[in-house]
Point group: C2
Chain length 269, copies 2
């Protein structure tokens, strides 16, 4: 699939989905005490990225795991995003940022100008004033707004009220997408009925779907209920597939198998 | 007021309130193009901190403004938090973090172990599973949960439903405070009726109140409606009070005036 120079992140992700036949987003959440012996956080990430790139329509480094290593971690994150660019794989920084206008612009600057990410996850709690600065800062970058997350007890906040909050957020994002096509949703894999309701209320948005695998999301249910071109995220299941010196090959094998398992459920394949 | 060694952040803040007669939290949101000529981000912060410490019960560096400067910014943030410790002023990292359990722990590690902050702001969108790891990570640190923010359109999300979200969040936090006394709320200054409703639903929590001054929050209304020992945050009004070489003295003067103006409205003074 031909992608024009300067095309937005979503177009690049869609092209990889078509060309490589994969819907996987590989989450990079490296934890020091789970790294294979003799490697370090940066080397671990780079080897995982190189090995799994053919199965990834995007990488998703999670900021927390790099911040936890201090200045060295931020330096590593910079290199991880740079390596994604070398590999031609869009990098979505999973940072779940959210703050008022002029502060949001500083977070956008950090993600897009300093780190060079191609996308970012943000948190909608502060309302659309805290979303728009991200959408406007870099119109080719893709902003995924947290909508319904996959964790236990998320519904206590997100499904509050007879008009559930997650639908309100989905509707706001759909509304914003009319003037800012670079916006999508984070919709967790663990509640198919929530996915269906969001898709009905706010159809056609790019989706990032965490929560398959260890968190309990069922591939068949996701393939049936999610937006057709959703990215499904996998992290630990791939990152820690192997613990020996060839951990990268084990990760690639796990990614290949998960790609195939998910594809087998997609209705139009 | 005598504070025991190892006392929690809130006890230290309360002691400064009593000893210095100030409720001000000085927000550190340094923007490159507003810095006085001949200074840099780090020097600006350190001089502001030294000059305003006598009027501050806490400092609140905002992570976004440091992240936007990349690795140099993180290094500066580390020094800012370290200097707050030297000055004996608690540092609340305003980062509005929020993520699921094992990721939340990494953000807590970054804030408390790596940066050495005394407190942190967090975002409740992911529910209590995303709050508890912060409360448990460091029981002497103070966690302020975003409840009602002061920005325009915040209500579109936070006041959704007949059972408004901000009250639901306040109730969850009050509930958590029974086993975790190191938790408080961020309650914006711009809607006194919201402050009263939160105080009624979840009384007695530590409050951080942003939104006075440029954002429109009225001092008298805040003093009347907020929890009695709330910290009121000021940033731009103090940071940019002067633009010349003695900008730090101008900031101190602005902080002194704001402290006095707020104290004049407190009922029990």
């Amino acid at each position: 699939m031909l992608v024009q120079a300067g095309a937005g992140t979503w177009a690049r992700i869609r092209a990889r989905q078509e060309d490589l036949g994969t819907r996987l987003c590989i989450g990079l959440d490296p934890v020091g005490d789970r790294l294979p012996a003799g490697t370090n956080l940066l080397e671990f990430c780079l080897r995982i990225m190189e090995a799994t790139a053919p199965f990834a329509c995007a990488f998703k480094p999670n900021a927390a795991f790099f911040e936890a290593e201090g200045v060295a971690g931020w330096t590593a994150l910079l290199k991880v995003v740079g390596f994604a660019r070398e590999l031609g794989v869009p990098a979505i920084l999973d940072a779940k940022r959210g703050d008022i206008g002029h502060t949001a612009r500083q977070y956008a600057r950090a993600a897009f100008d300093v780190l060079g990410a191609d996308g970012l996850t943000i948190n909608p709690y502060l309302g659309r004033e805290a979303m728009i600065p991200f959408l406007e800062y870099n119109e080719s970058a893709l902003i995924f707004v947290l909508c319904a997350t996959s964790n236990p007890f998320a519904e206590e906040v997100q499904a509050a009220g007879t008009d559930p909050l997650f639908l309100r957020v989905a509707t706001i994002v759909k509304d914003l997408s009319a003037s800012h096509p670079n916006v999508g949703l984070v919709v967790g894999a663990t509640r198919p009925e929530t996915m269906s309701a969001i898709r009905e209320a706010a159809p056609g948005l790019p989706w990032l779907v965490p929560g398959i695998g260890p968190q309990g999301g069922d591939l068949a249910a996701v393939a049936a209920a999610a937006e057709p071109h959703s990215m499904v995220n996998t992290s630990r299941q791939v990152l820690y597939a192997g613990t020996g010196p060839r951990f990268d090959m084990a990760a690639a094998q796990a990614a290949r198998e998960l790609r195939d398992a998910y594809n087998a459920h997609l209705p139009d394949r």
